[in-house]
Symmetry: C2
Subunit: 459 residues, 2 copies
């Protein structure tokens, strides 16, 4: 960095610097992510098959492993201007508190009503649905961030929006439901008796709090059995990582302005949308051999798909009606313990990130939730932002790495993704404040049960 | 505005443009706000008397009717950098939706964890308490925004923080309480049995949901009976309006950059802190005869201190232990109906704003809550931000005025204050979504009861 440039607390790009194109990291991958397979035939899903579930344009994006830059339509860029560019924050207060020589930066995606980065893909998916002349979309939501984001996008475009919300979140987060309703969405706790797959799951596990996998099955069933509807998904898919590349592109532009090169990039990983978006342009440079970055995916110890899962073809949903994806997975029947508080509950992981991890291009680390909330509380008090539990996984590792720098004296540049705010996670914070939060780590036997359900590929 | 300058969706000033001094509108007022009186003697409160309740430096600011600009200490400016400058937003989407020739701008103060502008004064008051070597501060909070803001400021500075929270909010907004606890504050529902005045109020009104007036009495009692503590207040006081002038100063700097002069400035008014801050530099120009602006204070029809109150000396608290302030008031015993949902529950109004209103320098308008939530929902869907019910009072009138412009064809510039977000007001939104929200307007007889309790000034 040039000596005479002071880095502000928050680097805001101008609206004209919002990326004009998404970056598709698959174009630079030597080993492409494995294709989605038709569970019946074991053959790669065709655009036609996928078109029954997803919008046409999104299917194209899903299957496109070659185009590096895909133009962002003007209408989406206009919507982005309502809440983007998102600030890149230099964590001066945290550095001072930790007394670390490390320089800590975070890309803050929480300054919008959905409270997270999810809006970046929600508006894109809703836009293409609208453009295709559809009546509405269906989806699932866990912590509720994705559902809120989609409700906002649909309200803006005048699309109908049906959200299947994981029951445990529906009950613990009634206020998220009300935000979605305020934006005109209909919200159903999942598993529900409104779908065939929901009724089946309820019959088998009457007391279940649900899972993202169940809710996906229900939303897909509704989309494929109601004319004029398609299904949209907030994470995992290639198209979602593509849309989320705006996070990384903006972060890189902001850092480049000040000549800062991150040594370490840290993001939380559930399905992988935030992490995939944050690292995209950096990973691109790494894949093209132009630069090197250490990249760490952080996941909950209670749902450890990267660190303890298998790299195998699996269903994305519990109902086993979705295509098979090759990914790090705990098995589609794996449901994290109910005392797992904050998001990142999905049993699998983006196929793109799975391939990159498999190829040794990134690391993964699992953290326990008490340690995560300790990091969250410290961050809230020192940096003034109450973080989402999901984001706090990344904070935990950023703190650990900054403390290491203090020990070694290294002046590393640490960049992490602060995906969202914790304003709707106060039930979990209350548990932590009351000292009744505990950690849960599945046993090997727990995991074996999930692995036992991995599908055999036909053919 | 010069023709070649496009106004962005959000105008962000740089951190160096955060005001270096607060602007004290009292310096430019010909008719100064009436002094606080000692309720026992009827004489103006001295600095020494006030010093038993408030920090020394804040007493100076409270009594200073002459200094136009008061320097903001570096430490406070550093804290401001964590969440300021706040954006000035051009409401392009709303203008398009309304098809109005009006240009609508709003100063958005909700992008911080306290969710409102309250943090601007909280950090200032906590800073002066810390500088004076105090152990901690006590306060009251209604909707919880002020308590959250103060908790954040105290956590940052390492001060103890005791918050008396209006019982109805404590119960309806448990999550606000948890945010405060996460920031290390202790939170007590008011009226409580922890103070003499609280026990007295409970004995007289056993089922009361409390009021800001009660909570103030309790917090003041604790501050004045515990060594090392002082009381701080989130609104009403001159010092608070002074600190909040950063809102207006930033808004004016941003508008000046684009050569925009607001024709109409609209803000919600409870105790007056946001409105007083927003209008400060504009009112200054008006008082000095340099420019003219139409200014509208918006208050709830259920707590109409400007539009139906009396301009008289009254207690700021229900317990009648605070000094007397000359203000538009409904009487310190007035408690809004429990079906009044969103903030702005204080029976009185800033003495500064009361004097300005009395002198015909601003207007006031009362709006009913169903109409307020209709405006809130529309704003959320079109502009993408879920507004606080308080802020939505200003939105309501901004919409009404923009619609008038459509009828008359006038291309007015409308500026309003969007004081905060509604993420912790979902109980009220749920009522609205369920269609069970109703309006409440006190009868003249209701108001007479409050006026009957107005104090007689001794001497």
């Amino acid at each position: 960095m040039s000596e005479n440039m002071t880095i502000p607390y928050k680097i805001y790009l101008s609206e004209s610097e919002i990326p004009a194109a998404w970056y598709n990291v698959r174009a630079d991958m030597k080993n492409k992510p494995a294709p989605l397979l038709n569970p019946g035939t074991g053959k790669p899903m065709t655009a036609e098959e996928l078109g029954g579930v997803f919008c046409e344009e999104l299917v194209k994006q899903e299957l496109d492993n070659d185009t590096a830059f895909i133009e962002i339509p003007t209408e989406i860029r206009e919507f982005y201007k309502m809440y983007r560019p998102a600030p890149l924050v230099r964590a001066y207060c945290l550095e001072k508190y930790l007394d670390t020589p490390a320089h800590i930066y975070y890309k803050f995606e929480g300054n919008n009503t959905s409270g997270s980065h999810k809006l970046n893909s929600a508006i894109a998916q809703a836009y293409y649905a609208k453009k295709q002349g559809l009546k509405g979309v269906t989806t699932e939501t866990g912590a509720g961030q994705w559902g809120t984001a989609l409700s906002m996008a649909c309200a803006y475009l005048g699309l109908d929006c049906k959200v299947y919300m994981v029951k445990v979140s529906y009950e613990q987060k009634p206020f998220r439901r009300e935000v979605m309703r305020t934006y005109g969405a209909s919200v159903v706790p999942s598993p529900s008796d409104t779908t065939e797959v929901g009724r089946k799951i309820l019959a088998e596990f009457p007391g279940t709090g649900g899972s993202l996998g169940c809710a996906i099955s229900e939303a897909v069933e509704v989309a494929t059995t109601n004319p004029g509807y398609r299904y949209v998904l907030g994470s995992v898919l290639n198209q979602v990582l593509l849309h989320q590349s705006v996070i990384g592109l903006e972060a890189k532009t902001a850092l480049d302005k000040y000549g800062v090169k991150p040594d370490l990039i840290i993001g939380c990983a559930g399905g992988g949308s935030n992490l995939g978006g944050l690292i995209a342009p950096f990973m691109g440079e790494k894949l093209r051999g132009e630069a090197d970055y250490r990249i760490i995916a952080v996941e909950p110890a209670s749902c450890p798909s990267f660190t303890r899962g298998k790299f195998a073809y699996d269903f994305c949903d519990t109902g086993m009606i979705c295509p098979l994806a090759k990914m790090y997975t705990l098995g589609s029947s794996f449901i994290p313990s109910p005392n797992h508080a904050g998001g990142l509950r999905f049993h699998g992981m983006s196929t793109v990130l799975s391939q990159l991890y498999h190829d040794g291009l990134m690391e993964a680390r699992a953290v326990e939730q008490t340690a995560v909330f300790e990091a969250a509380e410290l961050f809230a008090r020192v940096e003034g932002i109450l973080p989402a539990p999901e984001s706090s996984h990344a904070i935990r590792v950023a703190l650990d790495e900054a403390i290491k720098c203090k020990e070694t004296g290294e002046e590393k540049n640490i960049l992490f993704g602060l995906t969202g705010t914790g304003y709707f996670d106060l039930v979990a914070y209350q548990k932590f404040n009351d000292g009744v939060m505990d950690d849960y780590i599945p046993t090997d036997a727990d995991l074996e049960k999930g692995f036992a359900g991995l599908p055999k590929i036909p053919g």
